[in-house]
Each structure stands twice: as structure tokens, then as C-alpha cells.
């Protein structure tokens, strides 16, 4: 938004036909110019709003409309057939199971880590704090690759897992590990700040009065951090549902067995089954919208408290 545009706006306003951008620099002419200036600023305001809305519309909304359109390109019947196909349904089930399991694991350990970061004091706490952010810095592909190096052929831990008859890479445990890894920081990063606002006095008071550690957590700490926690949990779930890079590397892509919904889309694209890819994308986008509504709700609550 430069001087040039200011001039254009003022011409459109019709009020001032002179080079107003120069005038607006001059404090002396302010009184005389007061009225057109107000008008001008309103026009400038509308233009800024319009630019922001158009940018968001072009970037976020237009592709969304295009994909809904694309998935219905061969009619609603084709759409329904694609999303009710055996592969599509089983991949969607697997996605939900994996995301839910990963979310539970990360919630439990996330609470432990957040508590250790805020309430505990030990050597290495700062290192832990840095490590928590690592999954945000790691490209998902690299996350999957690290699991291959650990559990793949000749990997560091392959002997251990093979010893107990567990197949990790190209199997469900690998997908779960990958999902857990990439969604690890959310609960910790949302709970830690909230927890540090909750005074430890209440906890120790409950404790002095005879509550067990578990009772203290359940009746004192948890109610205080619940909105922040739920916000973190919903972010974790959203991220887990949508993961592709890590899962793609780790899974063998055996349809129906190790295929999540995102992998289903990926394979459909490879097979040039665009209606299938679009249909499943629409389903996942719909799920994301539901999660987004939940996220916004929890976020607002977390901010209010």
C-alpha cells in the first residue's frame, strides 16, 4: 500500500483531485482536509479488507470449492461408490484408530512431560524443553526415514523387535510410531503454559490435607488445565489424521491392511483414480472442518480461563 495507491483512492473518492499523497504528509493542511481524509481512510480501509479477504478466498476457499466440484464431476453416485469401496472404508477406519491411539499416548506422556517441565526441577530439563520441539523441525519424510533406520533391515533395534516377533516397519506399529512422533509436541506446548499459571500452592494444599498424588491431579490440577489440554488434544488428533509423509515412508502400502486414508488418496492419484482421490479428500476435509470447529471452541475457552 504505497503513496501511489493513496492517490488513486483519493481520486476515486472524488473529493480531492490534487496530489493528496503530498498533502497527507503536511500537518498544516490538516484542518482543511479533515473531511475528505476521513472518507479516504474509509476507502483505504475497505480496500485493505478486500485484499485480505481476496487473498484468503483465492488461497483457501477457491481450492476447497474446486475439490468438492471435482469429486462430484462424475455425479453423486460415483462419489458415493468411491467412498464406500472396501479399500476406502477400511483405510478410513485405520486412520481413525491410529489417530485416536496416537492421541491417547501423546496425551498421557504429554501431561507427564509438561508436568516435568513446569513443576519438576532436574538436570537436563532445558534439554528436554528443546527436544520437545524437534518433531516440528523434522520433515515428516525424515521422521519416517528415522524409523526405517531403527527398525528396517539391519536397523539398530531390528534384532530386538524380531526377537519378540514384532514387525514394525511396513506394518501397523510403524504407522503408529510415525503418527505419535509427528504429533508429539501439541499437548505439551498447550498444557505447559497453562500449568505454569496454575499455582502449585493448591496442589500442595490438597496434598497436605491427605489427597493422594492421583487425587490431587484428578480434582485440582486437571480441572484447572482442562481447556488447554483439550485444545492440545484436538490439535494432536487433527495432525494425526492428516499425516502423509512419515506414514508413506514407513508403511508398505498394502491396501486394506496398512493403508490410511491419506495413503489411499496418494495411491488413487498414482492410479489416476481422480474421483476416488477427490472423494476421499472431501471426506478428510470434512473431518478436518469438524475438528477445526472443536479446536476453535476449546481455544476460546482456554483463552478465557
Amino acid at each position: 500500500m504505497s503513496q501511489a495507491e493513496t492517490t488513486i483512492h483519493s481520486r476515486n473518492a472524488g473529493g480531492a483531485t490534487i496530489a493528496t499523497s503530498e498533502l497527507s504528509q503536511s500537518a498544516l493542511s490538516r484542518g482543511r482536509e479533515a473531511k475528505p481524509r476521513k472518507q479516504r481512510s474509509r476507502i483505504k480501509e475497505s480496500i485493505l479488507i478486500l485484499v485480505a479477504l481476496l487473498y484468503a478466498g483465492g488461497l483457501l476457499i477457491a481450492p476447497l470449492i474446486a475439490i468438492v466440484w471435482g469429486s462430484l464431476a462424475e455425479g453423486a453416485g460415483a462419489f458415493a461408490r468411491e467412498i464406500t469401496s472396501t479399500d476406502a472404508v477400511s483405510s478410513f477406519k485405520l486412520t481413525l484408530i491410529m489417530a485416536a491411539t496416537a492421541t491417547v499416548i501423546n496425551t498421557v506422556f504429554g501431561l507427564c512431560i509438561a508436568w516435568a517441565l513446569v513443576r519438576d526441577d532436574f538436570w537436563g530439563r532445558r534439554i528436554i524443553n528443546g527436544l520437545v520441539d524437534m518433531p516440528f523441525a523434522v520433515s515428516p519424510v525424515i521422521a519416517g526415514f528415522m524409523l526405517i533406520l531403527l527398525f528396517g533391515r539391519g536397523g539398530w533395534l531390528t534384532h530386538l523387535t524380531e526377537g519378540i516377533g514384532l514387525k514394525v516397519v511396513f506394518a501397523l506399529p510403524g504407522i503408529l510410531l510415525a503418527t505419535v512422533f509427528i504429533s508429539l509436541p501439541f499437548v505439551i506446548r498447550e498444557v505447559a503454559p497453562v500449568l505454569s499459571q496454575v499455582s502449585a500452592d493448591q496442589e500442595s494444599a490438597a496434598h497436605t490435607m491427605g489427597a493422594s498424588g492421583w487425587q490431587t491431579f484428578w480434582h485440582v490440577t486437571l480441572p484447572a488445565i482442562r481447556w488447554g489440554l483439550l485444545y492440545g488434544v484436538s490439535l494432536t488428533f487433527a495432525r494425526a489424521v492428516g499425516e502423509i509423509g512419515a506414514v508413506l515412508v514407513v508403511s508398505g502400502g498394502v491396501s486394506g491392511l496398512t493403508e490410511t486414508s491419506t495413503l489411499f488418496i496418494y495411491r488413487s492419484l498414482d492410479d489416476r483414480n481422480y474421483v476416488g482421490a477427490n472423494a476421499m479428500s472431501v471426506v478428510l476435509a470434512g473431518v478436518s472442518f469438524l475438528i477445526l470447529i472443536v479446536i476453535e471452541f476449546f481455544k476460546k475457552r482456554a483463552e478465557d480461563h
Partner: protein
């Protein structure tokens, strides 16, 4: 981070401290072991693998023409995307905080959409809009603009995926900022633009930088949306994470590790800078 507040780090009075050591130790070790297993162990494996051939081999993996081309392309695109994000994100945050207009609340909720929608779906969406067989894509390519399977597509995909970062870091700072100075400058005759540049911008600049660094780090590692939109043509649309994926698929593990180590080092140092900036801001707030 408020984690650093000292009075909170001494949580339990001595009387109760004796009663809790088991739970306390349990949680501490659960945290350490969990992160050790999930983060430290895999990282060590990749570093060991990348350096297994010595530093010279690591270096030759990186300067391999295709690898280096992918790295250069990724960095260039990340810079472009970050600059656009800095400008448009600031504008959007400003509009959201300062102006009233119908649909503002809805708009505000939509900002987080790219965080919720799977990145692969983002890619499919962009192909659905700009793909060669689609109306818009066909019209653009008849005017000589190729979006999908070309560099603009990659830029577009990354713009969508990193859309919320700058907005979400600048917004709270703008909301907290007092409007007094701004209004004073305006009343004294500064134009809207001058007021923004001289008064508002210095205030929100740290937040813009933070958001930009986050979106840069994200752009470096993005895979799901890029792999769909890009044609993975070396030097033109093959980004570093997609290159890593290709190397894994073709069983060149060390090549994949070397590039991974470089990407990891880059984005982790960016995130450390962001943490450092935020902890500095936190201290300043406490001091003021």
C-alpha cells in the same frame, strides 16, 4: 516461556515432598524415556547413518548436482513464500484486529484451516483448481502460465500450508498494543501509511519475524502438498524433502541421511532462534 518462573519450580513444601518421591520420579523418568526413545534415538540413528561414510562422503552427497539443486530450489522457494507471508500475514492480522466488517469472526476462524486440513488434501485441492484439465488451469496454461507441475504450484502449496503462522503471531501483539500512540501520530498529521510504518511496525516487527521464521522452517520440510502439486522435475520442482523420499525409495540410505541432517540442522536452529526470541520477549514483559 513462562516455564522459567522460579517460584513455580519449587512446587511442594518440604512436608509433602517426602510423600511424593515415587510419583515424582516416575513422571520424570517417563518424560525422559519417552523423549529418549522417540526423539533422541531416531536422531542418533540418522546422524550416524549420514556420517557413516565420513565427512567427505557426507559433503559429496550434498553437492551432488540433483541434491544441491533440490536444496537450492527449496531455499529459494522458502524465501519467496516467507516474504509473501510476512506481507500478507501482517496485512491480514491488521485487518482482523483493527477493522470491523461483516464476517470478521468467520474469517478469523477460517485462518486455522490449513493447520486442520491434511497437507496432502491441500495438494489435491490445488490440482483440482489449477490442474491442466480444469477450467482455471486450462485458461491459465493457454496464457502461458503453468501452475501445477511447475514452480508456481510449489509456491502456492507452501503459501496455503504456512498461511496461519504470521497472522497468528502478529494478531495477539496487535491486540495488546495500545492505540494511543497510533491515534496521536494520526492526529498530528501522519498519514495512515506513515503511522503504520513509524508506530505500528516497530511494535509488531519481532512477531512478524517470529512468524516468518516458523513458516520458513515449515516450508523447508513440507512434503504432502508439494509431492502432489510438483512434478518432481530435478532443479525445477524437486524440493529437498521430496528428494529425500526418492532416495529412500531407491535404497540410497546414506544420501537420504545426509540431506536429512542438513535440513534438520537448518530448521532446528530456526526453531531455537524463535524460542530464544520468545523467551527474551517474556523477560521484557516481566521487567516492564
Amino acid at each position: 516461556m513462562s516455564v522459567e518462573q522460579p517460584q513455580l519450580n519449587n512446587p511442594l513444601p518440604l512436608a509433602t515432598r517426602g510423600a511424593l518421591p515415587w510419583g515424582r520420579w516416575g513422571i520424570r523418568w517417563a518424560a525422559v524415556i519417552y523423549l529418549g526413545f522417540l526423539v533422541v534415538l531416531p536422531l542418533s540413528a540418522i546422524i550416524q547413518n549420514g556420517l557413516s561414510g565420513g565427512l567427505a562422503a557426507f559433503w559429496s552427497d550434498i553437492v551432488d548436482p540433483i541434491a544441491f539443486g533440490a536444496l537450492k530450489l527449496t531455499l529459494t522457494i522458502a524465501v519467496i513464500v516467507t516474504l509473501i507471508n510476512a506481507a500478507m500475514g501482517t496485512l491480514t492480522a491488521y485487518v482482523l484486529v483493527r477493522y470491523q466488517f461483516p464476517g470478521r469472526r468467520l474469517f478469523n476462524s477460517l485462518i486455522d484451516m490449513p493447520f486442520a486440513i491434511p497437507t496432502l488434501v491441500t495438494g489435491v485441492m490445488l490440482v483440482a483448481l489449477y490442474g491442466p484439465q480444469r477450467t482455471l488451469g486450462a485458461w491459465l496454461s493457454s496464457h502461458g502460465i503453468q501452475v501445477v507441475f511447475a514452480t508456481p504450484g510449489v509456491v502456492l502449496a507452501l503459501l496455503v500450508v504456512t498461511y496461519p503462522f504470521v497472522i497468528r503471531t502478529v494478531q495477539p501483539v496487535l491486540m495488546e498494543a495500545e492505540r494511543g500512540q497510533e491515534e496521536a501520530a494520526y492526529t498530528l498529521g501522519a498519514s495512515g501509511w506513515t503511522t503504520f510504518r513509524r508506530v505500528v511496525l516497530p511494535m509488531i516487527l519481532p512477531a512478524i519475524i517470529t512468524g516468518s521464521l516458523l513458516s520458513f522452517a515449515r516450508a523447508l520440510g513440507e512434503f504432502g502438498s508439494v509431492v502432489v502439486v510438483a512434478g518432481n522435475i530435478p532443479g525445477r520442482t524437486l524440493t529437498a524433502p521430496v528428494y529425500v523420499y526418492g532416495q529412500i525409495e531407491s535404497q540410497n540410505q546414506r544420501g537420504a541421511s545426509s540431506m536429512s541432517i542438513l535440513l534438520l540442522a537448518l530448521s532446528f536452529s530456526l526453531i531455537l532462534i524463535v524460542e530464544w526470541m520468545q523467551s527474551r520477549k517474556g523477560k521484557r514483559n516481566v521487567a516492564g
